[in-house]
């Protein structure tokens, strides 16, 4: 046999390229990451986004104001009511409308329910990606119950188009109150159960502590907001710094983490669910009386009965539906605390029937660019749970 044929040790390291996505079951959305791997360690990665870009900013420049609400539904579709309310409040700020307290409290209840659904999705999916399917299946029943409450209020479940410019479309019906009360009674026990199942589970903790960590300084530089920023230890929450919709009336805590790793992101969201329940409880207890909408004939559709036999109502109805409502010129920025962080609407109006320019500050889009840095040097399986713990929603990412 020839001695020359024996294997020589390879001097240079050989990397392999792994294409993760765009339709990979573990990424929970349409993202592509091209990873340069050294065995199981990620050396470098490059993200490609835009697979479900639908040109919402361009579309908004061609639609009357009330027709933009359904577009916002389709951004973060795990908590679309927050997007809807954020948009309504932006327009209300532009026209200087005062919204009655009762409508504001309604909005708070709906937004906090939406935050609970958003965090349920994120937290249970982290558990799924670490191998715990049960919690996910159980908790999704409770997301379903929240959707039923939405359904009683606005008729829709996922893409809600809830509320109107100037208030809510109707008072909460009795059925919605019944379902909400039942939910508030039953949900905490189930939530406790899920917490017990996962939060102190040794396997889960070993998998998540220290994975995908980011420092507070780096997170701020990357424009992180919401639970991901708070997990890194910065207590920035739009509900507290710039209260909207009467959030200043409520007492709640802002949970913060310390290390900004996957476990902290999980725990911050878990605690926020409890805080959301606290807010809803207070809102239900202190619900003020009064109208559920502002007196804004130029923007708020008149009751349908009035349209049939009152001239004035018919004119307003026609004007609003055709998008001819009078809007002041100006530019305004309004932000709400979405499920993922500061969801901002930058709106320039030139007084025309459509916005002159509308820019959405989408929290996902801004913080997802830190992903390659967060997974570098880690294992592929950690990269998957880092992605799910950041709660990147493709609809919001690509707008």
């Amino acid at each position: 046999m020839n001695d020359q044929a024996t294997l020589q040790p390879i001097e240079e390291k050989e990397y392999s390229t792994l294409n993760l996505g765009p339709t990979h079951p573990a990424t929970h959305g349409v993202f592509q990451n091209i990873l340069k791997m050294d065995g199981e360690i990620i050396v470098h990665s490059d993200s490609t986004i835009g697979y479900i870009h639908r040109a919402f900013e361009k579309l908004s420049e061609h639609r009357p104001y009330y027709q933009i609400t359904p577009l916002t539904d389709r951004m973060n579709y795990c908590s679309s009511p927050i997007n809807n309310m954020g948009w309504h409040m932006t327009v209300e700020k532009l026209i200087g409308a005062e919204i009655p307290k009762r409508a504001q409290y309604f909005r708070v209840i709906i937004m906090e329910l939406a935050r609970i659904t958003d965090h349920i999705v994120c937290d249970t999916v982290i558990a799924v990606d670490t191998g715990a399917m049960t919690g996910f299946l159980y908790m999704f029943q409770w997301r379903e119950h929240i959707y039923e409450i939405y359904e009683e209020i606005c008729g829709a479940r996922l893409t809600t188009n809830i509320g109107r410019i100037g208030g809510m479309e109707r008072d909460f019906p009795q059925k919605a109150w019944d379902k909400l009360k039942w939910f508030m009674k039953e949900f905490p026990a189930k939530m406790k159960e899920f917490e017990k199942l996962v939060a102190r589970n040794r396997i889960f903790m070993d998998r998540t502590i220290g994975g995908g960590a980011i420092s507070a300084e780096s997170a701020l530089n990357y424009g992180f907001t919401g639970p991901n920023l708070r997990a890194a230890g910065v207590d920035y929450d739009v509900r507290v710094t710039n209260p909207y919709s009467s959030y200043e009336d409520f007492e709640f805590d802002i949970p913060v983490g310390t290390s900004g790793d996957t476990y902290d992101r999980f725990m911050v969201r878990l605690e926020e669910i409890w805080q959301s329940l606290r807010i809803i409880e207070q809102a239900m207890k202190n619900m003020p009386d009064g109208p559920f909408k502002a007196d804004l004939p130029d923007f708020y559709l008149p009751p349908k009965e009035a349209v049939y036999d009152k001239m004035e109502a018919l004119i307003y109805h026609f004007k609003i539906v055709m998008g001819e409502a009078k809007i002041p010129a100006g530019e305004v920025y309004h932000a709400v605390e979405g499920g993922n962080g500061e969801l901002g609407f930058y709106l320039i109006s030139d007084g025309g029937r459509t916005p002159y320019r509308l820019h959405f500050r989408r929290p996902c889009f801004i913080y997802y660019q830190a992903y390659p840095e967060m997974i570098r040097g880690g294992m592929l399986s950690d990269a998957i749970i880092t992605l799910s713990s950041m709660n990147v929603i493709a609809g919001e990412l690509d707008a």
Binding site: G50, K58, G330, E331
Partner: protein
């Protein structure tokens, strides 16, 4: 501190430091707005970042603007900065001619500007000089125009594969 006081305070500091480069200041709702010349964008962001009192260390958002009727100031970029400690928010705008759409990058100060500038380039064709990786981000790489500019209609006029007799296209 209300928006009026904030506007005066930041405006005075900026004018002392950058003089003529701050061409205009105004207040829109709860935001002080400063129109600045594009040459100073990077220095100004860095100054606001490093100043111990102002310390605008968080970039909330950045986006492109297009006003076809403003001669030689057609395109623009808007920046929103936030001092999280004091909860001060300001907005900066800079405008430049459409035939020379260049502006210095903000990525040297804020890492978050990276994708937002790519998005702005993608939509408006604004060239950020010094950007580490200025490629299209949301649209496909083969696209030859900048769709958010006002001259482009909502429907894509360059496509011939859409033939829908009902909607007349």
């Amino acid at each position: 501190m209300n928006v009026q006081e904030l506007s005066e305070k930041v405006g005075e500091r900026l004018r002392n430091r950058f003089g003529e480069a701050i061409t205009h200041s105004e207040i829109h709702y709860d935001f002080p707005v400063y129109i600045i010349k594009r040459e100073v964008v990077q220095d100004l962001l860095l100054y606001l970042y490093n100043d111990t009192e102002l310390s605008f260390r968080f970039m909330t958002t950045l986006c492109g603007l297009h006003y076809p009727d403003q001669k030689d100031r057609e395109l623009g970029v808007m920046y929103q900065l936030h001092n999280l400690g004091e909860n001060w928010r300001i907005r900066l705008k800079t405008f430049f001619p459409i035939h020379d759409p260049t502006v210095p990058t903000a990525t040297t100060v804020f890492a978050s500007a990276n994708w937002q500038e790519r998005e702005t380039y993608d939509f408006y064709g604004i060239q950020f000089t010094g950007h580490p990786d200025l490629r299209r981000i949301l649209n496909m790489d083969e696209m030859t125009y900048f769709p958010m500019r006002k001259e482009y209609p909502l429907e894509d006029g360059t496509r011939d594969d859409k033939n829908d007799a009902f909607f007349g296209r």
